[in-house]
Amino acid sequence: MISLVGRTAILAALAAFSAGAVTGFMAAIRRSRDALRWSRWMAWAGAAAVVVATLAMEYALLTHDFSVSYVAEVGSRSSPTWVTIVSLWSSLNGSILLWAFILGVYLAAFAWSTRHAAIDHQPWALGVAHVVGMFFAFLVAGVANPFEPVSPVPADGPGPNPLLQNHILMVIHPPALYLGFVGMTIPFAMGATTLFAARTDAAWIRSLRRWMLVPWGFLTVGIVLGGWWSYEVLGWGGWWAWDPVENASFLPWLTATAFVHSIIVTERKDQLKGWSLTLVLATFLLTILGTFMTRSGVFNSVHAFTQSPIGPVFLAFLAIALVFSVLLLAARVDALAPGREGLGGPASRETGFLLNNLLFTAFTFTVLLGTVFPLVNESLTGKQVSVGEPYFNRFGAPLGLIIVFLMAIGPALPWGRSEPGQLLRRLVVPAAVGLVTVGACLALGLDGAWPLATFGIAAMALVETLQEFWIPARVRARARGESMAAAIAGVVTRARRRYGGYVVHIGVIMIVVAHAAAMAYTSRATLTFRPGQAEQVGDVTLTYQGARVEDQGYRLLKIASFAVQRDGRPAGVVEPRLNIYRRMGQPIGTPAVRSRLDEDLYVSLVNLDMDDQTASVDVLVRPLVWWLWFGGGVMVLGTLVALWPRRRRVPAAARVPAGAAAETGR
């Protein structure tokens, strides 16, 4: 029954998106407002259909309707309700359905928000977005159908992968990542449209930037939460391992980040238009590539025996999208009006942005190269190799550090003319603080060239960024007689995007510092405890108090209990555990994490022998870990500041037309 509802809804969505694509392109070619209206309605109809399909699946999951293939695959009567709900994205076919769902919602929102946009732009964009929707509806209806009827109906299912039901972050992390990935469809459609129509009027570009910033923010959240999840669940005490799945999410983030910088030059100087649009197209293509990488089975480990039929279909779609993008760019980029204004001199803000884009592009290229290299090597030499963390760190660390350095000098660079003397004067204080930071670290006994260079450059970037708030606010406070707080608020509200960007920078600096410190100054030990035994790691002493077993029905918990002493004073109890899921062979650990502002205590149970009560644990004392997550939060805050809508002073219909807006732009 549910199978039928779901499948009907998906077929309806497929029909609606197809019709929407046809009417969209018709509207574009014939400049027909009727066709455009139809295309918009089809977006809403298709969105409604995928919402129905998704709700049908959730209903089937919650009612344990094992006649639906996906429920039979991931459902289990013994799972808690929240696990059942999030099972929607615990396996391949469900995650594709979620993808279609989110795409439908984005498409509907896009159709709504651009209903007043110029007829030049919207139809193409709707058409392209509909085509992407068509593809995903086609996947859900065909090779990735989660609604396959199962017969005979099993009495119970295995439940989702235990790793995925082990932490509450699983509720937010995947949807955030999907909201980021899927959301890149809209900028892609808008970018393609800009090329089709060869018009880059200010309002459209501004809207493109905002539609990019939203998924960029979600992608940031998804990546940070993914790191947090892996820290809290996987038990090795790290957050980023450069595996293909992580790289898949990082690649579009890199190009999107490059875009949010290059678009500033585009908006302000009417330059780098073709390049900014290339970044938009590349970002979408990388999300598709990333999805292909995680789902095709091509990048799986040597002992993953399944290959999904979805792989070739996805590759075909990727190939078509790639060819389409390259052809479109080659055919239309020269049609874009040349910039009316040149770039700035050598030491100008423009050059800073160019270098920023160069670094981000090189970073993207490096990560992509390393990720696909095992395939390249195998097809050229027939031998297998792995490319992992050591490789990516080798290139990522210097590139990242140079990017932070650029973050330190970029905001000080003036637009247009270059005045090196002024720039140097401006950088005196930040550079001095950077040097003092390095000196202070040395005095505190910290060593290592990498972390010290990171701290110095990060301090410089932080001071420079804060100056961007402080100096204009001081000028304003003096000029208007306001308090400093009011002046800062005033400065920020006047230029939300710029200051939102600086807030994001502060978040990035936190993450960079925390990452460098945690990687460099961790105390770690692998210990085997007998009851009563005490061991010291860093400034922490652990005393093993014994083990116990708890039965939760669907899983068995083996818990070891340790008393913590820090600098001789008692500091509570940590209880790392192993979870043994009834339906899975190998136990899954839940490490105990004790976070403080200065350091985390991380205790992860490797083995617990219930007979003689011996416990083997990995113990880590890692500095500043908490600042990674906090920095992520600051990045989100900055994104929100940048996105916060400005009060509308002009009625929508009377917005400044294309050329005029740019004219007043100075």
Binding site: A241, F299, P346, L355, L358, L359, V387, P390, Y391
Partner: protein, 189 residues
């Protein structure tokens, strides 16, 4: 000024690459059958005297980080909680505790499993690609940037279209004042 910054950044990058240990690897194991004759399966004597526990922990972790867990998806032996990874870690720990060097231990695993067991291929043959590629990309990109910036600064400069900043003797203060009157898009408020 910019050229100086560009140059030093690139120089630093190049120096890092050159200093990297990937270059150091000589030929892989030459005579494997010789090694396998020995029942310990490590034919050289250990490189060091047995180190103490804290050093063993640290060195084991450093080696395990660079080794791929054979049954996982892209995880290293240090990260994975799988049986295979635990067995690997124990074996590495044993060898470290016996005083074997990182090179010896890595070679031992490559010998048994093939080169894919390490997470960073040695720079030989096709693998040069991934070591040269990023540097090449940066170089080409720098070329493009330099051409664009040169083009921009040598182009005939039109009279500055920008609104003249309020009179002030300090050009920096002038810029602040100009920016204060300005919103995101560079438009006047």
């Amino acid at each position: 000024m910019t050229r100086f910054i560009l140059f030093s950044a690139w120089l630093a990058f190049a120096a890092l690459l050159i200093a990297s240990p990937a270059w150091a690897g000589g030929p892989l194991i030459t005579d494997i059958t010789e090694q396998l004759k020995q029942p310990t399966h490590m034919d050289e004597p250990p490189a060091y005297a047995p180190p103490d526990t804290a050093v063993v922990d640290q060195r084991t972790y450093e080696i395990a980080r660079k080794m791929r867990c054979p049954v996982c998806q892209g995880e290293s032996v240090a990260e994975s909680r799988s049986e295979a990874a635990i067995a690997f870690r124990e074996r590495i720990r044993e060898l470290v505790a016996a005083g074997y060097s990182e090179q010896q231990i890595t070679d031992y695993f490559i010998d048994r499993y093939g080169e894919w067991i390490v997470l960073e291929p040695k720079a030989h043959g096709v693998s040069w690609l991934i070591y040269v590629g990023p540097g090449l990309a940066v170089l080409v990109g720098l070329g493009v940037v330099v051409v664009r910036v040169r083009g921009a600064s040598s182009a005939p400069t039109e009279p500055a279209p920008r609104r003249e900043p309020p009179a002030a003797d300090d050009p920096y203060r002038a810029r602040i004042l100009a920016e204060l009157g300005e919103t995101d898009d560079g438009r006047d408020a």
